[in-house]
């Protein structure tokens, strides 16, 4: 309940703040860039509020938990991206005075077509980046309330579309700054409490433990069709849903006379096959009045083994025809934890054994055992998890290449994010832009130290998520696992509020950029009479939100922060060369820029779509396509330069004036 209230508070506060500032948002300038009157500290908070998305609030912890130390390069790249922005791009771009990348492209190189193609990449990057925000919202609402995945997706899409369509950027500046503080407070305060609890209970055990070991006997409900490989000995309670014959076969029971039944749907069927009717069932006494129907198997039946020597002589499974929740309750009651799990009918998977799950299977991992891995899964275990670039997983090949490519993509991609650049125009001039970036780097550092802590704690306290694949929810699940009770509820509430702040702020910023690109760069210049610019922007925002929601509904199976990394990789391969060469190279032409966008950005997009939609790959193709930036960024630069050199007649006549505008320092204001 508390987490739901917390989400509601953040959602309502964002809407109210946005609505209040609606009253001051009158002109188009107010609407898009907050009239350039925002101070560096406030602007930096707003930039961070917009930048810190579901990717780092939820996704990064999940990745650290799964893949270990190599994932720490994400925050390094995310932060370093601002520094290269500062060193090469920020102040000149601010002086130039274009509001968006497409506008810069046309303003600098004089090609309306280049502007449209750039706007196309804004849409591609913007929607790619909106996907993980939608997924974050979906799993947050699902984790906290048990609602279906789509509820959160639709919720965030509606709130953000409303805020953006009616508040514009002015509203967003205050809201974004507010949301940075919500995020950093939530993540740090909860992490400190969890660290104290975790350290107090057990010290740091995640490292040196050679794999994710469960702290106590853990039952993991599984989806069907997952190929498991046991690392230590584990047990599976097969989820029976079919016939008595199927059940007997799944358990490998060949002698049905050793089965004793006490009612339930399979009762008659089993008895007909020769099972024994339980005496309790025949003479129900007071003790059995609240005993569910069950099936027992006498010892000695082939194919089943008891997990511990102290287990009872008979094994027992719940009647599969009962509703799931009561089956679970009965199983728990019957098994009394792992020590006595022998009272359930189990399939034993010795170390190294493989097993493909069927519907409703429950995996039981005894205390101290390692969570089984998925065959072909990319999870990193043992020493490789804590040591840099040490992964040997087939589906995660060439970790050093992947690391460098990730660094290149995030380092160079930041400047190409459409929703970040527009923020810098809210600075009054070049020097203020630089100050803003310094504050941004500090605020990011203050934030990025926390998410990996959740990943490490998750490895210790929620390793079962590694098997179910729901690692993106680890931040939200840890408080209940580690603290529980009211305290756990409160911490979950704080984290849920922070997570929602993350989706709302990033999604708002992205939606402004996407809607701006649609309404202001792509739309035909001849507008129907009576359609104001603001109205067009609002329509575009609503359309963009609908597309984002539809895509978000299909994004559940991708890791949040991996999606974010892909958006960065496309940005690095398209807009980074355009911006750097546009600011510094006098021989740059629109032909070169177009070649760079299409070759670099196109190659990155194709690589990523292949990974998302294509068959599973291994070896070098898998590494190159999953982290394309290391080769697509050089392609983009090469195409820009080659295209420009081949089209020197297209160098804009006023290049000198444009460069002068970018590079001439402002006169300090004399007081």
């Amino acid at each position: 309940m508390i987490p739901i209230i917390a989400i509601a508070i953040v959602a309502i506060a964002s809407t109210v703040l946005g609505a209040l500032s609606l009253r001051v948002a009158r002109s188009t300038s107010d609407f898009l860039v907050a009239s350039r009157s925002v101070r560096p500290a406030l602007n930096a908070s707003a930039i961070c509020g917009e930048y810190l998305s579901a990717g780092t609030f939820l996704g990064l912890a999940g990745l650290v938990m799964t893949f270990g130390v190599d994932m720490l390069w994400y925050p390094v790249g995310y932060t370093a991206g601002y520094v290269i922005l500062l060193l090469l791009v920020a102040a000149p771009l601010r002086r130039f005075g274009a509001y968006t990348i497409p506008e810069f492209a046309q303003g600098r190189l004089g090609s309306p077509m280049l502007r449209r193609v750039s706007a196309g990449f804004v849409l591609l990057i913007g929607w790619m980046y909106l996907l993980p925000q939608m997924k974050g919202a979906g799993i947050t609402v699902a984790t906290l309330t048990g609602a279906p995945y789509w509820v959160g997706v639709i919720l965030v899409a509606v709130i953000v579309a409303g805020n953006v369509a009616f508040g514009g950027m002015r509203g967003i500046t205050f809201v974004q700054a507010f949301q940075y503080f919500v995020k950093v407070f939530a993540l740090s305060s909860a992490a400190i409490v969890l660290l104290i609890v975790g350290f107090g209970v057990s010290g740091v055990q995640a490292f040196g433990s050679n794999g994710p070991r469960v702290r106590e006997c853990t039952r993991i409900p599984m989806a069907a069709g997952k190929p498991l490989q046991a690392i230590d000995k584990i047990f599976v309670v097969p989820g029976f849903s079919k016939s008595a014959a199927a059940m007997l076969e799944a358990l490998g029971i060949d002698d049905v006379s050793k089965v004793r039944v006490s009612g339930g749907r399979l009762h008659e069927d089993l008895v007909r096959r020769g099972a024994v009717i339980d005496s309790l069932a025949r003479n129900p006494g007071p003790r059995s009045s609240n005993v569910h129907p069950y099936i027992e198997v006498f010892p000695g039946s082939s194919g089943t083994t008891k997990p511990t020597t102290s287990s009872p002589l008979i094994t027992k499974i719940a009647d599969p025809t009962l509703p799931a929740s009561s089956v679970e309750k009965q199983r728990l009651a019957a098994s009394n934890g792992c020590g006595n799990a022998g009272s359930l009918l189990l399939r034993v998977l010795p170390a190294g054994a493989t097993y493909v799950t069927t519907a409703n299977d429950v995996v039981i991992v005894p205390k101290g055992a390692r969570v089984p891995s998925l065959v072909g899964g990319a999870r990193v275990d043992g020493k490789a998890w804590e040591r840099p670039f040490a992964s040997k997983a087939k589906s995660r090949p060439h970790p050093l290449y992947a690391g460098y490519s990730l660094i290149i993509g995030t380092f160079l991609g930041t400047m190409g994010l459409p929703h970040i650049l527009v923020r810098f125009y809210t600075n009054p001039d070049g020097p203020a832009t630089r100050k803003t970036i310094i504050v941004v780097v500090s605020l990011l550092a203050l934030y990025y130290v926390w998410p990996p802590i959740y990943g490490v704690l998750g490895r210790m306290w929620a390793p079962d998520l590694l098997l179910t694949g729901k690692t993106d929810a680890v931040v939200l699940l840890l408080p209940q696992r580690m603290v529980g009770g009211l305290g756990g509820q409160l911490l979950t509430g704080v984290l849920a509020a922070g997570a929602f702040a993350a989706f709302l702020s990033t999604a708002s910023g992205l939606l402004i950029s996407v809607a701006g690109a649609i309404s202001h760069d792509l739309a035909p210049s001849a507008t129907p009479a009576g359609t104001s610019i603001v109205r067009r922007f609002r329509q575009a925002a609503i359309i963009a939100a609908i597309v984002a929601a539809l895509l978000g509904l299909r994004a559940e199976r991708f890791d949040i922060n991996v999606l974010v990394g892909w958006a960065f990789a496309i940005a690095a391969s398209s807009f980074c060369p355009l911006l750097i060469l546009g600011v510094w190279w006098r021989r740059f032409t629109w032909v070169g820029a177009m070649a760079g966008l299409l070759a670099g950005g196109g190659a990155a997009a194709v690589a990523i779509f292949t990974v998302m939609l294509g068959p599973k790959l291994t070896g070098w193709p898998a590494a190159l396509l999953a982290q394309p930036a290391a080769w697509t960024v050089p392609i983009a630069f090469a195409a820009c330069i080659a295209g420009s050199l081949l089209s020197q007649s297209k160098v804009p006549a006023d290049t000198h004036a444009r460069l002068a505008r970018m590079h001439t320092p402002e006169r300090p204001v004399r007081g």
Binding site: V83, L87, R434, H656, R661, P668
Partner: protein, 109 residues
Amino acid sequence: VATRVARDPLALPNIEQPSGLSELALHTLMRAQLRMGLRYLSVIVFALVAVPLFLVNTSLLDDKSFVGVPVTWIVIGAGFFPLLLGVSVSYTRSISRLEAAYLQMVEST
């Protein structure tokens, strides 16, 4: 000289104003600015290239830990931020000095 003019954000930047800057002066200014940016950039690029290589090719940090956390985790997860902040602050100071000196030179001529 660049000016701050309130304008319709949907219009393209107004480039018509004469810059008053000769080809050579602009070239010199841009070279100085770019060189300074690249100098600071090289520090970061060096760190981003060298640290992974170092970590892969040495076992020096293996199994070294500080309050239970491996040193490599601390180096990557926290060590880069002071470097990035330091570079940002230092660059901003230098470039401000450079641009102030340039303005002074322009005004005195």
